[in-house]
């Protein structure tokens, strides 16, 4: 399949998902995965600014805690923060450059440890304001083409649309309130991951994998189901117990 065909397919898929009462976190996660495939990068993360203008991870191409933690270190430094503060795309940043390492002393070594050597950060733009950032990380140093970057920006714009499209109980005219709602949902999801991991005695990552496949199979929104689990109103024995045991400690 040519990339053009794949791009078309993905845009059709996205348009379809946005019409329904869609699951924001699952949508953004899948968008990150699509972006990772299309642009040929190793990881993609979508970060949203909280009310204090601090970037928080809302979704990533890979839900492994290790990657989430790398994104979390970018609250005050790194390519995503630069992009957020300047409102402009920061592309093809060489993370192995010693000048970069000294500029971002906490972020650079962590990125290197994860195997990332190049970064790109694109703004989530909303009427002249930047509400978050899409970060793209590569394990190979060759730069992204202009075409890649235009495509990634289009996907970042879709993420913005999705964020504003979510139907919340609250009032859509206040954009910040919607963004806050999305961030809260993400935290509930992490709390639920912990609850399931301890109940099942598995890692949080495998608890999440099981939780997500259950939610998808039963057409439940991740955030909604996570909230019921966290509030204790959902009987988690309904979810089949994952069979991966904990690695011996």
């Amino acid at each position: 399949m040519t990339r053009e065909t794949r791009v078309t397919e993905i845009f059709v898929e996205v348009a379809d998902s946005l019409i329904d009462d869609f699951d924001l976190i699952d949508f953004l996660q899948q968008l990150s995965v699509r972006c990772m495939e299309l642009i040929d990068v190793a990881a993609v993360g979508i970060l949203l600014a909280d009310p204090h203008d601090v970037l928080q991870t809302i979704a990533a191409s890979d839900e492994h805690t290790r990657l989430l933690e790398l994104f979390a270190t970018q609250h005050d430094q790194g390519p995503c923060v630069d992009c957020f503060k300047t409102g402009t795309a920061r592309t093809n940043i060489d993370l192995t450059d010693p000048r970069i390492a000294s500029r971002w002393p906490q972020f650079a070594p962590r990125a290197a440890a994860t195997g990332f050597v190049a970064a790109n950060a694109l703004p989530l733009r909303l009427r002249g304001r930047v509400i978050g950032v899409m970060g793209l990380f590569r394990t190979r140093p060759d730069p992204l083409s202009t075409e890649d970057i235009i495509l990634a920006q289009a996907l970042a714009d879709i993420a913005t649309i999705a964020l504003l499209q979510q139907r919340t109980a609250a009032h859509s005219e206040i954009e910040r309130v919607q963004l806050q709602h999305a961030l809260t949902s993400r935290i509930v999801l992490e709390q639920a991951k912990g609850i399931l991991a301890e109940r099942w005695q598995v890692t949080v990552d495998s608890a999440f994998a099981r939780f997500r496949s259950y939610a998808r199979a039963h057409h439940r929104q991740l955030a909604e189901l996570a909230r019921e689990i966290a509030e204790g109103t959902f009987d988690t024995t309904a979810i089949p117990h994952p069979n991966q045991p904990l690695p011996p400690s």
Binding site: D50, T65, A170, I187, Q191, S249
Partner: protein, 239 residues
């Protein structure tokens, strides 16, 4: 708003001194503000209030057991009532009966909490109908988040911050691992989430390590905080 946040931070009392509510109302550009906290029994309790109109409204909600504040606490979502007189009667039937006699005409309730943890609600009241501006809503969100951090005493749980937190930001909550650990501990210790978070915080505080580090140990199962077997919490060495 920045001034109010500084004021909140400078004041060491649990949620600010007597003048704070009035200053907050002024900074938000509303007629009144109130903060109610969720008690362990799941009820709310008025913590502070800027004026009599707001106090009457809060008391009424508490007496009737219904209203925008209760909804905000129950759902964790903002409740936005720009005109109390135009609310569907069925939404809050008892409150609707009283509404014509109230001086409060517009009410906005911002939930305070962290994920599924409900801490309380920040209520802003106006004597004239009309929505808040986006700027006012932004400010109220920031304030609700700062009050959440303050009421859980979260900022003091980070003895080893690499960088200073922005004004009032619950810095330690940037990490997914803290929320994961809270969930795990709630099962391990058979505690509700708020208490599990407090245990995590207390352990970080007493061990002089950051809540993020402690959380990583909990999530990686190097640390348990339960005392079930009669031994103190143990740290299992890596590998």
């Amino acid at each position: 708003m920045a001034d109010v946040l500084r004021l909140l931070q400078a004041d060491r009392r649990p949620l600010g001194g007597q003048d704070v509510p009035t200053d907050v109302a002024e900074a938000l550009g509303v007629d009144g503000v109130a903060v109610s906290l969720v008690t362990e029994a799941g009820l709310t309790e008025l913590l502070w209030c800027s004026d009599e109109v707001t106090r009457r409204f809060e008391d009424l909600q508490l007496t009737l057991g219904e209203g925008p504040g209760a909804d905000a606490v129950r759902t964790g979502a903002l409740v936005w009532v720009p005109d109390l007189a135009r609310v569907r009667h069925a939404r809050w039937p008892a409150l609707a009966m009283e509404a014509p006699d109230l001086e409060a005409r517009a009410v906005f309730c911002f939930p305070m909490g962290i994920g599924a943890i409900r801490v309380g609600v920040l209520t802003a009241i106006r004597r004239t109908p009309g929505p808040l501006t986006p700027q006012q809503a932004d400010d109220a969100l920031i304030l609700a988040s700062a009050l959440t951090a303050r009421s859980l005493d979260l900022n003091s749980a980070e003895p080893r911050l690499d960088t200073p937190a922005p004004d009032g930001s619950p810095h330690s909550l940037l990490h997914a691992v803290v929320h994961q650990a809270t969930g795990m501990l709630s099962v391990q210790l058979a505690l509700p989430l708020p208490q599990a978070l407090l245990r995590l915080r207390a352990h970080a505080y007493s061990s002089g390590r950051s809540i993020t580090d402690i959380s990583k140990d909990v999530v990686d199962r190097r640390l348990r905080l339960d005392h079930g077997n009669g031994t103190p919490p143990t740290v299992i060495d890596k590998e």
